[in-house]
C-alpha cells in the first residue's frame, strides 16, 4: 500500500536579481522609518494629504493660467515671437527662451529676487505636451486613487449598514490602508491561468475592461478649466467608450473555460443590450433642453444656483434623472442588477477563474466607471461644478488669488463636482447592501418594457417643452419658473429628509450590542 504519491514537484526557488533585491531593501527601509510616524496619527496624515492634493491641483491650474495670461499674451506683442511649434526636434522653434522670459518678468511686478532658476522652471510650462503629460498624470493618479478609496469606503458603509464596524485595523484610523494593503496582496498572488482556458484572450480581457474606463476620464470635465480634452461630443464619447467595456467582460467569461463564467458573460451581454438604449435616451432629455452635447456647455447653463439645475428645470428632466440612475446601475453591474457576477448563483460570474492582480483590474474598472457615471449624472442633472448658491452672488469678489480660491470653494469649482458625485456614489452603495438581486428575465422586463418606453415619452415631452419655451411668451416663463420652484423644493425635501434621518441615526446610535453573558453572568 503506497503512501499516495505527490504529483506536484515544488518549483525551484527563483534566484532574485539585483533589481528585486533593491526594491525589497527600499521597501524595508521606507517601512522602517515611516511606520512609527504613520501609526501615531494616521487620520491627520490622511486628511492633510487629501487637502494637500486639492490645493496642489488648484495651484497647478493657477500657475498655468498665470503663464498664459502674463507671459504668452505679453510675448505676442514682441516682434520676433514664434509660437512653440509641435515638432520638438528643432530647438529653434522652442518658443520663449529663458532669457526672453527673464526680460518679460523683470519689468513685471514679480519680484526679481529669484534669479534665473524661475525662468528655467517657467520655460517648459508653455508647451502643450508638458501640460498634457501633467494632466494625464493627474488623471492616472485620480484613476488609481478613486477605486482604492471607494472600495475601502464601501466596506465601511456596508459595515455600518450591517451594524458592524468595517475595516478598523490596517493602517490605524478606521483601517484607511485596507485597500492599498489588499492591492499589494493581490499583486503578490500567483499568476494563475486555468488549464483549457484560451491563454491570450484570458490575459487580454482585464485590459479590455480597464482601458475604456480610463478613456472616459479624458473627456470628463471636473471644472471650467479642469478638463484634459474639451470635446463638443463629450457625452456621446463617454457613452461609447463605456459601452466598449462590455467586450472585455464577455471575453473574460468566454476565455476562462468555466461554465459559470460563460453564464456570467451571457448575462452581461443580455443586460448590456437592455440598459444601453434607455440610458442613452435618458441622457438625451437634458441635451434636448440645453441644446449641446458638450458637458462644459451643459454645466455652464446651470450657474444660477439650486433652482437653475437641469434636474429641476422641467418634470421630464427630473424623471430622466431617475431613469438614468436606474439604467446606470445596470450598466455598472451593481445593486439589484449584479447578475453577471452573482455570487449565490454563478459562484462569481465572469471573474470566477480570475485571481490576484487580474481580478483587481476588473474591480478597478468597475469602481472607476462608477465614479464616471456619477460624475456625468451630477454634471448633466445636478449642476456639475456649480454650487447651490447662484454664481451671481459671488460676482463682487474680484479675481485676486484668495478671491479665486473663495469662489472655487463657495460658488463653482471641482470640489462641488466631487461632493455631488461622491453623494451619488453613496446612494449606489446603499442600494447594494439593502436590495436583493433580481432575475435576468426581470432585468430584461424592467429595462426594455418599462424604462425604454418611459424614456421615449420623456424625450417627446422634453422636445415639446423646449419647443414651447422657445416662444418666450410671458405665461410660459411663469409656468417654467413655477416648475423650477416646485421641483427644486422637492429636491430640497429629499436632501432635508436625508440629513434628518442621518441626524436621528447619529443621535440615537446605541453602544454596539456586546456579549450578553460576559456583562452580568457571575462566574462566566
Amino acid at each position: 500500500m503506497t503512501q499516495f504519491s505527490v504529483p506536484w514537484q515544488p518549483r525551484p526557488a527563483h534566484p532574485y536579481g539585483m533589481a528585486s533585491r533593491a526594491v525589497i531593501a527600499l521597501a524595508q527601509s521606507v517601512y522602517g522609518f515611516a511606520a512609527p510616524i504613520v501609526s501615531r496619527f494616521p487620520g491627520a496624515i490622511l486628511i492633510s494629504a487629501v487637502i494637500a492634493t486639492c490645493v496642489g491641483v488648484w495651484m497647478h491650474s493657477v500657475l498655468f493660467g498665470w503663464v498664459d495670461t502674463q507671459l504668452i499674451q505679453a510675448a505676442v506683442t514682441l516682434p520676433d515671437y514664434t509660437p512653440p511649434a509641435l515638432s520638438l526636434l528643432s530647438p529653434s522653434t522652442w518658443g520663449l527662451t529663458p532669457s526672453v522670459i527673464h526680460a518679460l518678468r523683470v519689468d513685471e511686478t514679480v519680484a526679481a529676487s529669484v534669479a534665473g532658476l524661475l525662468d528655467y522652471v517657467l520655460w517648459p510650462v508653455q508647451f502643450w505636451i508638458v501640460r498634457d503629460v501633467v494632466g494625464l498624470g493627474a488623471l492616472f493618479g485620480l484613476f488609481n486613487v478613486i477605486p482604492v478609496y471607494v472600495i475601502w469606503w464601501e466596506r465601511k458603509v456596508a459595515g455600518r449598514i450591517q451594524s458592524r464596524l468595517g475595516p478598523m485595523r490596517v493602517g490605524g484610523w478606521h483601517g484607511w490602508a485596507q485597500s492599498p494593503a489588499d492591492g499589494i496582496k493581490l499583486i503578490l498572488k500567483e499568476d494563475l491561468v486555468p488549464a483549457g482556458a484560451d491563454g491570450p484572450l484570458f490575459r487580454l480581457a482585464p485590459y479590455l475592461t480597464i482601458i475604456p474606463s480610463l478613456l472616459a476620464f479624458l473627456a470628463l470635465p471636473f471644472g471650467a478649466t479642469y478638463v484634459l480634452r474639451e470635446l463638443d461630443v463629450a457625452l456621446v464619447f463617454i457613452l461609447g467608450v463605456l459601452g466598449a467595456e462590455v467586450v472585455g467582460v464577455i471575453l473574460a467569461g468566454w476565455a476562462s473555460n468555466n461554465k459559470w463564467s460563460v453564464y456570467g458573460a451571457m448575462r452581461e451581454a443580455c443586460q448590456m443590450i437592455s440598459y444601453e438604449i434607455p440610458m442613452g435616451m435618458a441622457l438625451l432629455v437634458p441635451v434636448i433642453c440645453v441644446g449641446t452635447l458638450s458637458l462644459s456647455g451643459i454645466a455652464d447653463v446651470q450657474q444660477g444656483g439650486w433652482f437653475s439645475w437641469i434636474a429641476f428645470s422641467n418634470p421630464f428632466c427630473f424623471a430622466a434623472f431617475v431613469c438614468y440612475f436606474i439604467a446606470s446601475l445596470a450598466s455598472l453591474k451593481r445593486a439589484p442588477f449584479d447578475l453577471p457576477e452573482a455570487e449565490s448563483e454563478l459562484v462569481a460570474g465572469f471573474v470566477t477563474e480570475y485571481s490576484g492582480f487580474r481580478w483587481s483590474l476588473f474591480f478597478f474598472a468597475e469602481y472607476a466607471a462608477m465614479f464616471v457615471i456619477c460624475a456625468i449624472a451630477s454634471i448633466v442633472f445636478l449642476g456639475g461644478w456649480h454650487s447651490p448658491l447662484p454664481a451671481s452672488w459671488g460676482g463682487g469678489l474680484g479675481d485676486g488669488l484668495l478671491a479665486r480660491g473663495l469662489t472655487g470653494l463657495l460658488f463653482s469649482g471641482p470640489i462641488w463636482l466631487m461632493f455631488k458625485s461622491v453623494f451619488l456614489l453613496y446612494v449606489q452603495l446603499w442600494l447594494r447592501w439593502t436590495l436583493p438581486r433580481i432575475r435576468i428575465d426581470q432585468v430584461l422586463y424592467s429595462c426594455i418594457q418599462v424604462l425604454l418606453p418611459l424614456t421615449m415619452v420623456l424625450v417627446f415631452g422634453a422636445t415639446v417643452w423646449t419647443w414651447a419655451s422657445t416662444g418666450h411668451n410671458a405665461l410660459w416663463s411663469t409656468v417654467e419658473a413655477a416648475t423650477r420652484i416646485i421641483l427644486g423644493s422637492i429636491g430640497l425635501v429629499f436632501i432635508g429628509g436625508f440629513i434628518a434621518i442621518a441626524g436621528y441615526g447619529f443621535y440615537h446610535r446605541r453602544r454596539m450590542v456586546g456579549n450578553l453573558v460576559q456583562d452580568v453572568m457571575p462566574g462566566s
Binding site: M1, T2, Q3, F4
Partner: protein
C-alpha cells in the same frame, strides 16, 4: 384507530399475507410476506379507514442470528379534510418485511409513496436489499464504486480506497472505532 384494531383489520383483509402481528411493546407492528407487500401497501395508503399517506421512514435491519434481513416501514396518517383546522389526532403504525440474507429482494413501494424512493435507495446502499422495479436503484450515500454494504453486522472494513489508507486498527479481528 388503536394499533390493535389496525392489526385486526389487516389480518381480516389479508389473512394469507400476514406472517406475525406484535401489538404489546413500544412499537406495534405487523410482519408481511414480501410478495404480497405491494398490495398491502396500496391498501394501507388508499383505504379510507386507514389512509396512511405519510411514509415516515424505512429502517433496514440485519437479523444476523436467524440469517435474515428486514425492512421496517413506519407509516402515519395526515388527514386534511378542512384545510385551516389544526390537526390533533392521527394514528401511526409499522410494517416489517423480512427476506433471506443471501439474496435479499423486496418489491419496491416507490409508486405508492414517492418518499420511499430515496429511503429504499439508502437501504440498498447500506444494507444491500435489492428493491424490484424501483425507478432508479443506485447507491445514494456511498461512492458508486464502493464494495460491500456497510451496515451489515458481518461487514469488514476496507483497508484502503483508491490508494487512500483507512485509519482503522488493522490487527483487531472486529475493529471498534
Amino acid at each position: 384507530m388503536a394499533p390493535e384494531e389496525i392489526c385486526k383489520l389487516l389480518t381480516t383483509e389479508f389473512t394469507d399475507a400476514i406472517v406475525k402481528t406484535v401489538v404489546e411493546g413500544a412499537h406495534p407492528y405487523v410482519q408481511v410476506s414480501p410478495d404480497r407487500w405491494p398490495d398491502v401497501a396500496r391498501f394501507l395508503c388508499d383505504d379510507s379507514r386507514l389512509g396512511m399517506n405519510l411514509l415516515r421512514s424505512i429502517s433496514a435491519l440485519d437479523l444476523l442470528s436467524d440469517d435474515r434481513l428486514a425492512c421496517v416501514y413506519d407509516l402515519m396518517r395526515i388527514v386534511v379534510d378542512r384545510p385551516d383546522v389544526l390537526i390533533t389526532e392521527t394514528h401511526e403504525f409499522a410494517i416489517r418485511v423480512e427476506t433471506d440474507r443471501n439474496e435479499p429482494v423486496i418489491p419496491s413501494v416507490a409508486d405508492v409513496w414517492p418518499a420511499a424512493d430515496w429511503h429504499e435507495r439508502e437501504a440498498y446502499d447500506l444494507m444491500g436489499i435489492r428493491f424490484t422495479d424501483h425507478p432508479d436503484l443506485r447507491r445514494i450515500l456511498c461512492p458508486d464504486d464502493w464494495e460491500g454494504y456497510p451496515l451489515r453486522k458481518d461487514y469488514e472494513f476496507p483497508l484502503e480506497y483508491h490508494g487512500i489508507p483507512a485509519t482503522t486498527e488493522y490487527e483487531l479481528p472486529n475493529p471498534r472505532h
